[in-house]
Structures are given as structure tokens and as C-alpha cells.
Amino acid sequence: MGKAKDSPAARKRRARALKRAFLWGVVSLAIYLAVFLNQDIVTRYFTKGGVFAIVIIVTALAVSLVHGSFANYTIELSGIQPYQDGKHQEGGH
């Protein structure tokens, strides 16, 4: 297992996951900061009802993509991988 971790392929995968976790993390943080630094305005508009229901759906889907991707690559970097066919699956996303 130690040898598999140090292989060039594994190092390349980790580097890619780190880069992607960083990029998605920055975008996710930007979304959260945008909402929470302007929470009064955001709350006012998101609770207006009517057509703003679509904005809620779009926001939730956008966060699932951005933050979900950040979570995915972070989990991969932590070493938590799916286990199938008797072995760990590298690159669990």
C-alpha cells in the first residue's frame, strides 16, 4: 500500500485533486462570503416569494455543484476512497 501511494500515477492524482480542491474551494468560499456578508439583502430577496423561488432552486443547485466538487476532492485527498472488487479505488470521483 505504501508503494502504491508513492507511485508516479498516485502522486499525479493527488496533485490533480489538490489543485481542483483548491479551485472549487475558492469558488465555494466566494459564494458563502457573498451570501453571508450581504445576508440582509439576500434574505430580503430570497424570501419575496413568487418568481424568486427559481432563484432559490438555482442557488441550491449551484452550491451542490461547487461545494459538492470541493467536498469530493477534499475527501479524496483525505484518503477516503471507495472499496470495490477487493481493493481501494483510486480517484474516487
Binding site: M1, G50, A53, A60, S64, H67, A71, I75
Partner: protein, 368 residues
Amino acid sequence: MEGGASDVVKEFIGLGAGSVVFLIVLGFLGGLISGFIGSGGAFVLTPGMMSLGVPATVAVASNMCHKFPKALVGAYKRHKFGQVDVKLGVIMGLSATAGVQIGIEVQKLILNAWGEAGSNLYVSLAFVAILSVIGVFMLIDSRRARKSESGEKISGLARKMQSINLPPMIKLKNGGSISLWITIPIGLGTGLLAATIAVGGFVGVPGMIYILGMSSLLASGSELVIAFIMGMAGTVTWGLGGFVDIRMVLLILAGSLFGVQVGAIGTTYVKDYMVKLVMALVMVIVCVSRALVLPNYLNDLGMITVSAGTRSVLETTSFVVMCFALAVGGAIILGNMWLRKRALARVPLEEAKARLLPLKIEESKDRL
């Protein structure tokens, strides 16, 4: 609980650091359970938000809004492991959405007839009646499956259901086919329960296992598709009324999008019966939690007398027990993953030893 209530106050509380951390941790644990058993993480979020002072309708609406993106991510992850029957999930999601509307109307009828106390009593009785029966049954079945060398078996009822040839027939991912007309009541029941106690999967997943004949892993994975469709439809309904607090949704998602993916990965470390076991344990503990507050609602209806002090103790204990259900589920999932990882870390050493043995035999032959 999940009914239209335009006459209820819409209030959006201030969020301190403690509330933020609480919602993220609750979201993570709820997501972990959902990713593993297909549902069940949401039941503690509504009372969790209400414990922070959030009105019930805003809590229910925000919970619903977090559910569908979490379910989407969880379903995607489990689909990659081959654990989702997308077609069946979509079909049942549609009937579940209809079931939610029926559930909402039932809630309105009870609210009009017996007021909020009557509605709370109805919800708690539903919790206790349904979760106790199904939870105990699944607990017994999971123990049987664990002891059995052949593992999970399709139930006799599911065999009979699959033998009914009433078109249109739906081909199941793990083999066999089932009539659409048999899936509809399960979908409706899932939606009805979701509208009543916020967790439709406690009927949906056992229904798919014991009536449709799906494996636990496939049923729990497909439930996430149903949860996605129900959640999105419900969010539109609540969003139109302006009840969703997007800040709380985002905080819960901050934790649950991690939890649901870890839970999904966790299913690859365990045998089918473990999904049943975790679901059964969570259901039984939540059942106890809801049973604890029944006296309070009976008191509100004037049927018995409960002192203010006793009332407070029962409510607090109920909430703690509900959180305990999440903690137990989380501990079993993470514990199993950790144990399997440790076992895997030992395998290369044993494999190396096994490989060395033939070499040693060859060396011995050379020396002879």
C-alpha cells in the same frame, strides 16, 4: 409539519458562531446517514433548527431546500458505484410528489379540526406507529441476513409481487421486473410520510426491499433519486411562499455535502445487511424520541395533565435522543469504514508473505 401555512409568522433569526457550527455539524451527520441509508438525515434538522428559535414553517422549508441538492450529490456518487436504479427512482419520485400533496392536505384537515396540538400528536403518533413496526422488523431481518451465509434474500412477498404481470412492467436493475401499479402505492406512501414526519425513506426504502425485491444497497441508493424529486418539488412550493432561509440551507449544505459523499463511499465497505441495520437502529431510536413527547401533546389537548417542569424535561430528552440516533448511525458508518481500512492496510503484508512462501519452497528445492 410540512403543510402550507401562510398564516404563520415568517421570521429569520440572527445566526451566531454557535448556531453556524451546530448547523454544519448537524448537516454533516445528517448527510452521512442519508448517503448511507438513502434517507433519514433530515428528521433531526427541522427540530434542530427549531431549537435555535426558527419558526416551524421556515425550518421545514429550509430543510426541504437542503434535501434535494444533497440527494443529487449522493445519488450521483452512489450511481457511480452501481447502486442506483434511476428509472425506478424517477417513476417513484413522481408518485411520491403526489403523496406529499396528499399528506399536506391531511395535515391541513387535522390542523383545522384539532389545532396545532392535534397536528403535533398526529405527527408523533405517525412516528411511533410506523417507525416501531418497520424498525423492529428490519432489525430482526438484518440480524438474520448477517447470520445467513447466503446474505440477503428476496422476500416471499417480493417474489409474489414480481410474479404479478400487470402492464406496464418496469425492469429492475438487479433483475426481475415489477408492475408500475405496485410501485405507485409505495411512492405515495413515501411522499405521505415525507409530508408528515419529513422522512419518506423510512417507508420508501423498506418498501423497495420487501415489496419490490431490491437489495438494500440498490433501494437506499435509488431512494436518493426519489428524495431529489420530492425535495425539489417541495422547495418550489415553499419558495413560492417565501419561507426558505437560504443562509441556513447553505450552512447545512456546507456539512451535508461532505457527509453524503462519505456515507456513499461507506456503502462500498459493508455488506447489504449493514444498511438495514443502521436504518433500523436509527428508526427505533427516533421512535423512542418521539414517544417521549406524546404526553406533552396529550396535555395540550386536555387529555392528561403534565407539569411545566416535566414537559421541559421530556422535550429536552426527546431532542437529545434524536441527536443520539444520528450519532449512533454516524458512529457505525465511520467505525466500519475505519475497521475495513485497517484490515486493508494489513493485506499487502500478508500478500507479501504469501508470495514469499513459493519462493522459499523453490530455494529449498535448489538446495536439495
